[in-house]
């Protein structure tokens, strides 16, 4: 079984937030909720300052704290490492929001529209959406590595992370090709090679969550 992971090259990231928007479009993420963020840091002291960017999807941890704390077992982890939330079961207690060291989860507090009132896009039939896109007020949600694309791609026999149809939206949309997606358990995969050759590291590794998202230093 594959273990899906992501590699983000911080040297290539230009902080354009295209991935942020692509994620919102692909997953119909409601206003005020960001499954993908790009943090913008100012480094150094005037006049020697520079900007750096840190894209942050859900880390799809091997030992997800969000799953451990969830009182209703609404959070589960698949065999391929993707952590998902069952909105029907979620209590909306925000415990996962606080437990996740990466701030990858958000509670959907109230129904809002991007332009004040409903649009055809936003009212897109819930039945036609993938389960993780059927948002519920009062339930927590998070990035799923575009699991619907991964699953559909696999069903068609496509190569995940290589064929566009089987690749997360943030990877496809990145204008600088700073993101890579693939099987971390396959030592020959592009992501495994990048982690190995370019000494990929993970954020807040000391907390022991074993994230599946690696970064390459600028």
């Amino acid at each position: 079984m594959a273990k899906w992971g992501m590699v983000i090259d911080l040297k290539k990231c230009v902080g354009c937030q295209t991935c942020t928007v692509a994620c919102k479009v692909e997953n119909m993420v409601p206003p005020g909720i960001f499954w993908n963020r790009v943090y913008d840091y100012e480094i150094g002291e005037y006049p020697n300052v520079t900007r750096r960017f840190l894209p942050r999807p859900c880390m799809q941890c091997e030992d997800p704290v969000c799953m451990a704390v969830c009182p209703t077992k609404a959070t589960t982890k698949r065999e391929d490492g993707i952590v998902s939330v069952d909105y029907e079961r979620c209590l909306g207690c925000s415990y996962c929001e606080l437990a996740c060291p990466y701030r990858a989860r958000t509670l959907h507090k109230k129904k809002e529209y991007y332009y004040g009132e409903s649009t055809p896009y936003e009212d897109f039939s819930y039945e036609l959406r993938a389960p993780h896109q059927r948002y519920m007020v009062g339930a927590a949600s998070k990035c799923t590595f575009c699991v619907h694309r991964v699953d559909k791609g696999l069903a068609k026999g496509l190569s995940v992370g290589q064929d566009p149809e089987a690749t997360p939206a943030c990877i496809l949309s990145c204008i600088a090709k700073a993101r890579y997606f693939g099987d971390l358990d396959d030592p020959e995969s592009e992501v495994s090679m990048l982690v190995k050759d370019k000494k990929g590291f993970r954020v807040l590794e000391e907390l022991g969550t074993d994230p599946s998202v690696y970064y390459l230093t600028p």
Binding site: Y39, V65, T72, C93, Y95, P101, R103, G138
Partner: protein
């Protein structure tokens, strides 16, 4: 260091943690006084109010969550989630605590009989667990540096005991308590000293913990507001009053001083929890570029 303040949990959680902790502490102190000095009106009332306060805390938690109708599912993940464990422990404490408190209405001497002692002991054990539970609940939130702290269960437990005894002190002038009142004052003194020691240990932990985020969180916790209300009004001043009260023992002023102490201890217990909730900051995701 960029650390964002947590906004997920607000005043409702503070109320839950305050009422739940104080309720558990109140029941535990009442039960212990029952067993040591025999049941009194004060401890009878205390053992009823305790479980009711825990119930009130659960009410505040329910109005905080997004989908309260899913609450019946909240016990499912007891294997790993402290929230699930709390969902199981608190109703058990309420049920057994009220049983212990109300059984004497039908069976007047049951509190000192074997059945009463067994029921009360089980409820007291649950009260100990509930008193610590909120600390475990917070410390499991690994994303918040200040909360992810092994000393929080002890801090909440000692504060719950002090707060529970504080409620008894507060209502004590209504009842004729005699000698038990001075024992209660001594108990509160010990609990407040322990509370100070646990708080100092939290600071000492910063010296052995490599996390910059934890040290930064402690710095943000130490506001003048926290020092003034949680530490001085809620801890130091009550200790001073308790010492002064020893010189006026047996007088009307003595009862009044103890009641004032009770109020101050409760103010401190609430403010301590409020401060810990509001001082919660997420880890900084900043990395060394």
């Amino acid at each position: 260091m960029v650390m964002e303040k947590q906004h997920s949990w607000g005043w409702q959680v503070v109320m839950d943690v305050f009422l739940g902790g104080i309720g558990a502490g109140l029941f535990l102190v009442s039960f212990l006084l029952d067993q040591i000095y025999g049941p009194t009106q004060l401890t009878n009332v205390g053992s009823i109010i305790g479980p009711v306060l825990v119930l009130a805390g659960i009410f505040f938690l329910l109005i905080e969550v997004g989908k309260p109708f899913n609450a019946p599912r909240a016990f499912l993940n007891y294997g790993t989630s402290w929230m699930s464990r709390g969902v199981i422990l608190q109703p058990m404490l309420i049920a057994l605590g009220l049983l212990y408190a109300l059984l004497p209405l039908g069976f007047p001497d049951i509190k000192t009989a074997a059945a009463g002692i067994v029921i009360g002991s089980l409820a007291a054990l649950l009260a100990v667990l509930v008193g610590m539970y909120h600390g475990f609940l917070f410390s499991q939130a690994r994303g918040i540096a200040l909360w992810n702290n092994p000393l929080l269960p002890m801090l909440y437990f000692v504060s719950a005991l002090a707060g529970g005894a504080g409620v008894l002190l507060l209502i004590s002038p209504i009842f004729d308590m005699g000698v038990i009142l001075s024992q209660l004052g001594a108990l509160v003194t010990i609990e407040l000293v322990l509370l100070c020691l646990v708080l100092v240990s939290m600071w000492l932990l910063a010296t052995v913990r490599p996390s910059r985020a934890y040290r930064e969180s402690l710095r943000r916790l130490m506001t003048p507001n926290f020092v003034g209300v949680s530490l001085l009004i809620g801890n130091v001043v009550p200790l001073v009053i308790l010492i002064i009260s020893l010189f006026v023992a047996g007088t009307t002023a003595y009862s009044a001083l103890l009641a004032i102490t009770g109020v101050l201890v409760l103010v401190g217990a609430y403010h301590l929890r409020h401060s810990i909730v509001t001082a919660g900051h997420h880890y900084s995701l900043e990395i060394s570029f």
